[in-house]
């Protein structure tokens, strides 16, 4: 099966880039682009061929037999969608970093290492393997931001690396404990998901692992790495961060925490402040994240911080969708993973690459007088489209996803669903405000002729933007495309525990 090659090709591409003779920037870019296109082609082929969404084993080899650890790659509908997303974002990220000039080979080598590891996480069915890939992601992220970043890059990079590492440390504790309690015979996902862990064990292991993953998914109040990290990162890295890396966290919550410890979602048997289970707690945190992210985005002065906080808000939708525990909400969460991945990538591309690399400022008040809608109309149009999609206008992927999550949440937590409404309204407001201030401000003074005209939007940027918008519109118009593979995956034996336990 070809899917495993997405990982190998990415790693080989990274290696080849390091071995390339110095000083051939175009060659390095082209090689990186070629690598990502090939991996994308592989995921797309797999996605098209594999319409049923059931589990598909890619490779399964014994790896460390004395510990029962296997090299087991497999994909079901959910992983296929995220693999596809990774492929799309990877290509777009390279197109939007065509203007990197400093240490080009190293940049793309770290980039491809990150992409390969992300593919690895989405493909792993052995939890040891999954954890290995999950941790490999941390290191290239750090260097991408610390070397090529902007505002407070070293601080942002270190904060992000430590938050990720602390999250994965929590996951490691939970996984080790689960491995030992289950008899230390296997780390395979399906074996551990089938094992009946005692209730009291699940009650502490579930929140531990869930929070460990949710830190990377930007769950409030553990989200603070995200805005600073996004802002500090170079465009491609913030696209990857928001686009796929945060999805790793959400994917881990669904795939590992919830399937392994479904009883951990059940009621405690008592109430604290009206909350009766971990499910209530995390749903509440998700709702706070939605509202808080949107409100904070509303008052930011830095254009990139607006998008950074909007990510927190949108990731809150995913976590809320997971906590609804009904088919609609869960499927909506997966669609939202795809949708937010594409849209956050696009928004960061507009802000980081199209605007900041040209205007060299992200201050909304300074951007206003520059008349950006005249100077770079393509950027303005892209932002309007991306903003509309992000607000959840029909016809785009965001609409489908958020609607499904809202209906799901309405069934599970009616009160929270109302609060989410506030978040959605604020979401419209901050996009509107940013759009208005950055692109369509009334130019008080005539643009001075002293300023050199901004360079026009280049071909790679246009291609990248079209790719991302196309993906969002395609899903928005025909969501069945994703749902057809998600639903069978949610009905697979892996989610049995969840369905029998707390499913509604």
């Amino acid at each position: 099966m070809m899917l495993a090659w997405t990982i190998y090709i990415s790693f080989l591409g990274a290696l080849a880039l390091l071995l390339l003779p110095k000083g051939s920037a175009t060659l390095a870019r082209s090689l990186a682009l070629l690598t990502t296109i090939v991996t994308f082609a592989i995921t797309l082929t797999a996605f098209v061929q594999h319409r049923t969404g059931a589990l598909l084993t890619v490779t399964q080899k014994s790896w460390i037999p004395s510990l029962g650890i296997e090299y087991h790659l497999a994909a079901d509908g959910i992983s296929l969608i995220l693999l596809l997303l990774t492929g799309i974002i990877a290509i777009a990220g390279i197109l939007f970093s065509w203007n990197i000039e400093r240490r080009v080979q190293e940049f793309f080598a770290f980039y491809l290492l990150l992409i390969g590891a992300v593919y690895g996480v989405f493909l792993s069915y052995d939890l040891f393997l999954l954890f290995v890939f999950y941790e490999i992601v941390i290191i290239p992220k750090y260097f991408l931001i610390a070397i090529w970043g902007s505002t407070r890059r070293e601080y942002g990079a270190m904060k992000l690396a430590l938050y990720s590492f602390i999250g994965s440390a929590m996951v490691l504790v939970g996984l080790l404990a689960a491995y030992i309690v289950a008899g230390a015979k296997s780390m395979a996902l399906e074996d551990l998901a089938r094992f009946p862990f005692p209730l009291h064990f699940q009650m502490w292991a579930f929140p531990l692992v869930f929070v460990g993953f949710a830190i990377l998914a930007g769950m409030w109040p553990f989200h603070t790495w995200a805005p600073t990290g996004h802002v500090a990162a170079p465009t491609a890295a913030s696209m990857l961060l928001a686009g796929v890396v945060m999805k790793l966290g959400a994917y881990g919550c669904l795939r590992v925490a919830m399937t392994l410890f479904p009883l951990g979602l059940g009621p405690w048997g008592f109430h604290v402040l009206g909350l009766g289970s971990w499910r209530d707690v995390f749903a509440l945190l998700a709702v706070i994240g939605i509202v808080y992210g949107a409100l904070v985005a509303l008052v930011q002065k830095d254009f990139k911080f607006v998008i950074g906080y909007s990510s927190i808000s949108h990731m809150g939708f995913i976590l809320l969708g997971l906590m609804t525990l009904n088919q609609l909400g869960l499927a909506g969460a997966v669609v939202q993973m795809f949708s937010h991945g594409v849209l956050a990538g696009l928004l960061f591309a507009v802000v980081g690459r199209m605007v900041y690399d040209r205007a060299h400022t992200r201050d909304l008040a300074t951007l206003g007088p520059m008349n950006l809608n005249k100077a770079i109309p393509f950027a303005a149009v892209t932002f309007v489209v991306a903003g509309m999609a992000s607000m959840g206008l029909p016809g785009f992927s965001g609409f489908v996803a958020e609607l499904m999550i809202l209906i799901g949440a309405w069934r599970a937590f009616p009160l929270f669903a109302v609060c989410v409404g506030i978040g959605i309204v604020a979401g419209v407001a901050y996009i509107w405000r940013a759009m208005q201030q950055a692109f369509f401000a009334e130019a008080g003074v005539e643009p001075t002729s002293m300023q050199p005209p901004l360079p026009p939007i280049s071909i790679p940027e246009r291609l990248g933007a079209i790719l991302l918008i196309g993906a969002s519109v395609a899903v928005g118009l025909y969501p069945q495309m994703l749902l057809n593979v998600i639903l069978p995956a949610l009905h697979s034996p892996l989610f049995d525990g969840l369905r029998k336990g707390s499913w509604q």
Binding site: W63, I64, P65, S66, L67, E106, F128, F131, V132, F133, E135, I136, I138, I139, Y142, F143, A146, I147, E154, M158, A161, L162, F165, I166, A169, L172, V173, L176, A177, Y179, I180, V181, A184
Partner: protein, 507 residues
């Protein structure tokens, strides 16, 4: 009077004999024929002979593996001791490889001789289950290491470090000897197995009412043994010599102290506690702490992890940073003793061997940088990736392996170690130690990344040139990095061996 047959004894100790012969040959060659040659050539010849000797010993161990237990544990040979001895010899060869280009001393013959003598000490240390032989070989090892530390006669720091090392080491030897004498008084034997049966008999004798109470004599012996070996493995709060020695000693000596001697000390520490003090374990489980050597070690381990990791954060010198990270790693490794199962012993061996490889490599890189820039301050690593890309990449691998990032050997070492510790006690009783260890390794990533940040992110100062690394050092460093990656991706290569050996040795 027991008749001793010298022929089988010599045959059993043939690997050690080979190494000693090589050591003498090195000294003779150096003093008789090469006195007037350049240091570089003298080093090359000495290292070649010494490596050949070590390789001969390895071959002997590989080709004619014997199983023997001579004079009730005085000299033991089984697959496990062979495995560890081979690892020690390989580490010695690698240390020789990175020391060939050193210029710190003119006493080349003596340096290599001492290195080999220390290796012989370690080999005997590993191959014995008798307190007397253990103590003598430990002293052989320690005394050689003191001199190796002091060998850079031009540097005041080297002498200071050696004196400190000597004083602390002497004190720890005194503790150890005191403990051993108590054990002898308790059991009338120096053999670990007989000590264990004496403890067992004491427990059966019912001279105490509560099952958890220890004989006071035994309690003191436990404490002094833990203190004595705590010094050797540089565990907090007995670590004071480590930062100074790591900083002041000549780079190859420091690398050797950090790698080879660690492997041997941990191995024998585990043996003494698990074989010798069987029956006096106690328990360090969260809910059920029972006095014995396990809770004592648990405290030492927790302290080492906390102190090592937290103090490493503020270090400005690469070698001191490695020293504090060594203290932290000693803490992780002590967890394996707290667990004291077969699994955890295998995990300890895997951990300490891969740790030794990574540390040796890191010291190799530090040595090269230090030689070119004059000091090991972290600021000298600024922009290293543009001055020496290959070395930087190797350092990247070593440090991330120490931090426990997959797919490097350090990660699997940690994973396996923590898994075996968790599995050791029923209902996850040691979870608190594992949680502490994992939390502390998250802290450790911070300071390792600080170094790597200098290497990859910071720009080099304007006036520096490319770093010229000697070819052999570079080869050894690249080999080490390759080994760290390989053992991380395919841990089974080494693990299979270790598990088999541990099973046969039946510990």
């Amino acid at each position: 009077m027991i008749a001793i047959f010298h022929a089988p004894l010599l045959q059993l100790a043939l690997p050690e004999v080979i190494v000693v012969c090589a050591a003498l040959l090195v000294l003779a060659m150096d003093i008789l024929f090469l006195r007037t040659c350049r240091t570089r050539i003298r080093f090359a010849v000495a290292a070649a002979i010494a490596s050949a000797g070590c390789a001969g010993a390895i071959l002997r161990l590989l080709l004619a593996p014997e199983q023997a237990n001579f004079l009730n544990g005085t000299l033991v040979a089984n697959p496990l001791t062979h495995l560890v001895q081979i690892a020690l010899l390989v580490l010695t060869i690698l240390t020789l490889g990175i020391s060939v280009d050193s210029t710190f001393t003119e006493h080349v013959g003596e340096f290599v001789l001492l290195l080999l003598i220390a290796t012989v000490g370690m080999m005997f240390l590993v191959g014995s289950q008798d307190l007397l032989v253990i103590f003598i070989s430990l002293e052989l090892l320690s005394l050689s290491l003191y001199i190796l530390t002091a060998l850079d006669k031009r540097s005041a720091r080297s002498s200071e470090a050696a004196l400190k090392y000597f004083l602390f080491g002497g004190m720890s030897a005194a503790f150890l000897l005191f403990g051993f004498s108590l054990l002898y008084g308790f059991s009338h034997s120096t053999s670990l197995a007989e000590i264990a049966s004496a403890i067992h008999a004491f427990h059966l004798g019912g001279s105490h009412i509560h099952g958890s109470q220890l004989n006071p004599l035994l309690a003191i012996a436990i404490v002094t043994t833990v203190i004595g070996f705590g010094f050797k493995v540089a565990a907090a709060p007995f670590h004071f010599w480590a930062p100074d020695v790591y900083e002041g000693a000549p780079a190859p000596s420091a690398a050797f102290i950090a790698s080879g001697s660690k492997v041997a000390s941990f191995f024998i520490f585990f043996q003494i506690l698990v074989v010798g003090f069987a029956g006096a374990e106690g328990s360090a489980a969260w809910s059920r702490i029972v006095p014995g050597w396990v809770p004592a070690l648990a405290i030492v381990a927790a302290l080492s992890m906390l102190l090592g990791n937290l103090v490493a954060i503020v270090q400005r010198s690469a070698r001191r940073l490695l020293a504090y990270s060594a203290i932290a790693h000693a803490g992780y490794m002590l967890l394996a003793m707290v667990a004291h199962t077969q699994q955890s012993f295998a995990a300890l061996l895997y951990y300490v061997v891969t740790y030794a490889l990574a540390t040796l490599g890191a010291f190799g890189v530090v040595a090269v940088v230090e030689k070119q820039t004059g000091s090991d301050q972290l600021s000298n690593f600024d922009g290293l990736s543009r001055r020496a890309p290959v070395l930087s990449f190797c350092l990247f691998i070593f440090l991330l392996s120490l931090a426990g990032i997959p797919p490097l050997a350090g990660f699997f070492g940690k994973f396996y170690l923590f898994a075996s510790v968790l599995a050791a006690s029923s209902s996850l009783g040691l979870l608190w130690l594992v949680v502490l260890a994992i939390a502390m390794s998250a802290v450790s990533l911070y300071y390792y990344l600080q170094v790597l940040k200098r290497v990859y992110v910071a720009s080099p100062a304007a006036d520096v040139e490319k770093i010229q690394s000697p070819r052999l050092s570079r080869l050894v460093i690249v080999l080490l990095a390759g080994a760290v990656v390989l053992l991380g991706c395919a841990p089974h290569l080494l693990l299979r061996w270790i598990l088999e050996a541990v099973r046969v040795a039946g510990l």
